[in-house]
């Protein structure tokens, strides 16, 4: 099967307008005859749900949390980018497109990225109208801050809780449609598989997490807004229940999975304190606007940070990258921290951290200003560590954070299964091999609110005569049986090793060899270990309780079974790419000064993997063409 990205013809800046001028529409009277299933209620899934329901489609939204307001978009802190140029600092849509393509190390699709930059402008208007209390100047106008990898201030923010505020607006828009009767929400429901009829995505099999009941739901199209899978590393900035299961099971039904190994390791999370740890809390990248990162110049310097004078400190980002300093992109900052820690300059009990210091900023701006900008982050830091960061530097460390990879989608956000769409972090689009800070909230919101509702009509226009999709068909029977069998199989293992313990072991393998720095030997070792662990899981996982009732251990086990499969594909994907690009850093392919070295001649493509069963995969390549940007070596020096 050849990949068709369905990019519209015309100049880059006209593509989205031309697409909209020529797409098919569904008339308002027909929309209520059309059912759409949305999975996930975060910024992408929730935005799609609300916007599709506003248009009059019959929307059914499924999510495992008890309320849409808890989706993990809620935890995004720093901000959302938009090319408004409110600061008059020379920002344009093209500049934002340029920064995003370059930030992604020339491994994303031009037309998708340009559209995201274009729609960023509308998104800020939309969210403001919904009542998002963005940060403002005393004049009353909207304020901006700067984020890594750019030379302008285009990030809009609501203190350090921007994700929460955008999600509240999205959740409220959903609730409004629930009241209007165009949206039905199924909270505490988990998608277990997809039903295809004549090759089209026509329904889902779900488990009611409260009663354990297996249910069938049908629709004319299915949209996945299920987020990323960084939780595969066990220790990550993600929520405990974030998972890959919906996208992975779609993959096993025929949706290609693109660039699975491209995971963003965030440079500013709290370091691990012990073996019991379940989560690494993120400290927003926005802190790097005013915080300076350093380690002691001398190895194993035991002095307290405030006792180390300036001449004994190594501000290594400012030293290595004078143009961008502390605001280099995340992959660069994480690798630089790892380099210092590996060289013996790490700080903290486990020597697994670097300092993020606000002394200079507090001296210049005063405590009050710093408090207003980052107050909640300093409070959170104190709650978790017991340390007052106004008085001594924070200790931070890299942690798994964002999945640039995801289901392969075309310009319409359609996967390789007709009628199945993927929005937000669940798809692979827009960020290439590295995502810029504050582009995640943007992509999720833009996909859900502005792109998907417009592109899906092109598909649904052909469905107006289809009529309701029945669920009492052999196709539904078959998938439901497979789902039930799998649950029974999990419960029949009755082993001795707790699910979390196996997940931690998987996380260790992945963080060691399939994270910040990769090499052939390590990846081959990882694949072997993953296979061993998968065997251990199916032979000895301790999963008890019943399927016909609430059972969170069974939920975790089902998700881990999927992680144990995608883990292998992640390693395989990393192994197949003999170059370094963005977050994918292969030790064999680096420049003389230790920076990532791309190989555009052989690897200027997105790797889209087709499931062949067992597990085994076939690689398809979407070759990337750059007409509107000069492909250069990515440098932040």
């Amino acid at each position: 099967m050849a990949l068709n990205a369905k990019e519209p013809k015309g100049a880059l800046k006209d593509k989205w307008r031309l697409y909209n001028e020529h797409k098919d529409l569904v008339n308002p009277a027909n929309r209520k005859k059309i059912d759409v299933i949305v999975v996930g209620a975060g910024l992408s899934g929730g935005g799609a749900s609300a916007s599709l329901a506003e248009l009059g489609y019959n929307v059914k939204t499924f999510f495992f949390q008890d309320s849409g307001r808890r989706s993990h978009s809620v935890a995004a802190q720093g901000g959302v980018n938009a090319a408004k140029n409110y600061q008059n600092d020379g920002d344009t849509i093209y500049k934002m497109f340029y920064d995003t393509i370059k930030g992604g190390d020339y491994r994303s699709r031009e037309s998708n990225v340009y559209r995201m930059a274009q729609l960023s402008v509308d998104l800020i208007d939309h969210m403001t109208a919904q009542g998002v209390p963005f940060g403002r100047e005393y004049s009353g106008y909207l304020s901006n801050r700067s984020f890594g990898g750019v030379l302008v201030s285009r990030t809009f923010y609501a203190r350090g809780q921007t994700g929460q505020q955008l999600l509240m607006a999205t959740y409220q828009a959903m609730m409004k449609q629930v009241k209007k009767g165009t949206l039905t929400q199924y909270n505490r429901h988990e998608i277990l598989d997809f039903v295809l009829v004549d090759g089209k995505a026509r329904g889902v099999i779900v488990r009611d997490l409260v009663t354990g009941k297996i249910e069938r739901h049908s629709a004319h199209a299915v949209v996945l807004g299920t987020g990323g899978f960084g939780k595969i590393y066990y220790l990550s900035t993600l929520a405990m229940n974030s998972n890959v299961s919906a996208t992975w099971r779609a993959h096993k039904k025929g949706a290609f999975f693109a660039n699975p190994s491209w995971t963003q390791i965030h440079p500013t999370a709290l370091p691990q304190a012990g073996d019991h740890q379940s989560k690494l809390t993120l400290m927003s990248e926005s802190l790097r606007n005013d915080g300076r990162i350093w380690v002691p110049l001398k190895k194993d310097d035991d002095r307290l940070p405030n006792d180390i004078p300036s001449e004994d400190r190594d501000y290594y980002l400012e030293r290595r990258y004078p143009a961008f300093g502390n605001l280099v992109p995340r992959d660069v900052a994480s690798r630089a921290a790892k380099e210092r820690m590996d060289a013996g300059h790490g700080v903290g009990k486990l020597k697994n951290a670097v300092y993020l210091d606000f002394r200079t900023a507090i001296g210049k701006l005063g405590v009050a200003t710093i408090k207003e900008r980052y107050g909640n982050l300093f409070t959170m830091y104190k709650k978790i560590t017991g340390i007052d960061a106004y008085k001594e530097p924070m200790k931070i460390s890299p942690a798994a954070h964002f999945s640039m990879g995801g289901l392969w989608v075309d310009y319409e956000l359609g996967t390789t299964i007709p009628g199945l769409y993927a929005v937000g972090e669940a798809n692979f689009a827009d960020h290439g091999a590295n995502r810029l800070g504050a582009n995640s909230l943007l992509q999720a919101s833009v996909d859900g609110n502005f792109v998907l509702p417009n592109t899906i009509s092109n598909f649904l226009a052909n469905e107006i005569r289809t009529g309701p999709i029945p669920t009492d068909t052999p196709e539904f029977d078959e998938v439901e049986k497979a789902v039930k069998d799998k649950l029974e199989k999990l419960l029949s293992i009755k082993g001795k090793t707790p699910v979390d313990r196996i997940h931690r072991a998987l996380g260790k393998i992945m963080f060691k060899e399939v994270a910040m720095s990769r090499n052939e030997k390590g990846l081959i070792w990882a694949i072997k270990e993953i296979k061993k662990l998968r065997k251990q899981f199916w032979n000895d996982a301790a999963i008890y309780g019943e399927a016909n009732g609430m059972n969170s251990e069974l939920e975790k086990a089902g998700r881990l079974a999927d992680y144990l499969e995608i883990a292998e594909l992640m390693a395989k994907d990393a192994l197949s790419r003999n170059e370094s690009c963005g977050a994918h850093y292969r030790e064999e392919f680096v420049s003389e000064d230790g920076e990532a070295k791309r190989n555009d001649k052989e690897f200027m493509y997105s790797a889209a993997w087709e499931w062949l069963g067992k597990p085994d995969w076939k690689l398809h390549k979407e070759h990337l063409e750059f007409h509107d940007i000069e492909v250069k070596t990515r440098s932040y020096k």
């Binding site: 935005g47 109208a129 100047e137 106008y141």
Partner: protein, 248 residues
């Protein structure tokens, strides 16, 4: 640390519950409270016993999913913390800790420590939004909003919808939760048009869902993880009375 746990176990909404005792001998001070419960559940899994069900997700204090009453206090011993941010350093070796679900008529227990908070969704559905459809928005800088007003709206909008206010209130009132949303939207110019309908519908939904009345004790504001202010309840009452006398 050695810790004795007395945990509420209840099979389903209609079953009778009871406290069950567990012993953990290797708890560390650096553990979060929920990691301590993870440890308990791992030990139960090895023995083939049913795990203790509790709600949790982000584990960084922002999703609002965790919902425990620890030694009689919603979320735990520290003021303005969520359960997930509570660490074992707040307890001593040899302590006995009582863990129960949030209790309120409008929050029925689902199983063990998990409760059903759909009633909060119902209140927001009644009117907790601005009806701006996607694609209709004017240019964001067209309406300047004073810095202080925006910041004050944020203070109210910061509510994480956990329900600790309800669990703490002796009347099981959701006044602080409702007032946070009312205040967030009433403070902003964008929220003015639907101001009257919003307060009327939301208060009606609050009462219909079985939440009690507010008698201004202020216990809710003492536990609120986001420090939503009691003043928001005063504003809600003002909005309610205003709606009674005004046409819009």
């Amino acid at each position: 640390m050695k810790i004795t746990l007395k945990i509420w176990r209840q099979d389903g909404p209609k079953s009778k519950g009871k406290l069950e005792t567990f012993q953990l001998n290797e708890v560390e001070q650096d553990m979060s409270f929920l990691e301590m419960l993870d440890m308990l559940n791992e030990s139960l899994a090895v023995k083939g016993e049913r795990s203790v069900e509790f709600d949790h997700d982000c584990r960084e204090g922002i999703c609002g999913q965790c919902s425990l009453v620890i030694n009689g206090q919603a979320h735990g011993p520290e003021s303005h913390y969520t359960t997930c941010q509570t660490h074992m350093r707040s307890f001593k070796d040899g302590d006995t800790i009582f863990i129960e679900p949030f209790r309120a008529k409008a929050f029925p227990v689902i199983r063990d420590l998990k409760v059903n908070r759909d009633s909060f969704d119902t209140i927001i559905q009644a009117g907790g939004y601005i009806s701006a459809l996607t694609g209709n928005a004017p240019e964001a800088n067209n309406i300047p909003i004073h810095h202080n007003i925006s910041e004050s709206a944020f203070d109210s909008a910061a509510c994480i919808g956990c329900g600790a206010c309800v669990a703490t209130c002796k009347n099981s009132s959701a006044a602080l939760f409702v007032s946070a949303k009312i205040s967030h939207l009433a403070k902003l110019p964008q929220g003015q048009v639907e101001r009257k309908e919003r307060i009327e519908y939301m208060i009606t939904a609050h009462d219909e869902e079985g939440f009690g009345s507010c008698t201004h004790t202020g216990a809710c504001a003492m536990v609120c993880p986001q420090e939503v202010q009691l003043l928001d309840i005063a504003r809600m009452n003002y909005e309610f009375n205003r709606a009674l006398c005004k046409a819009t």
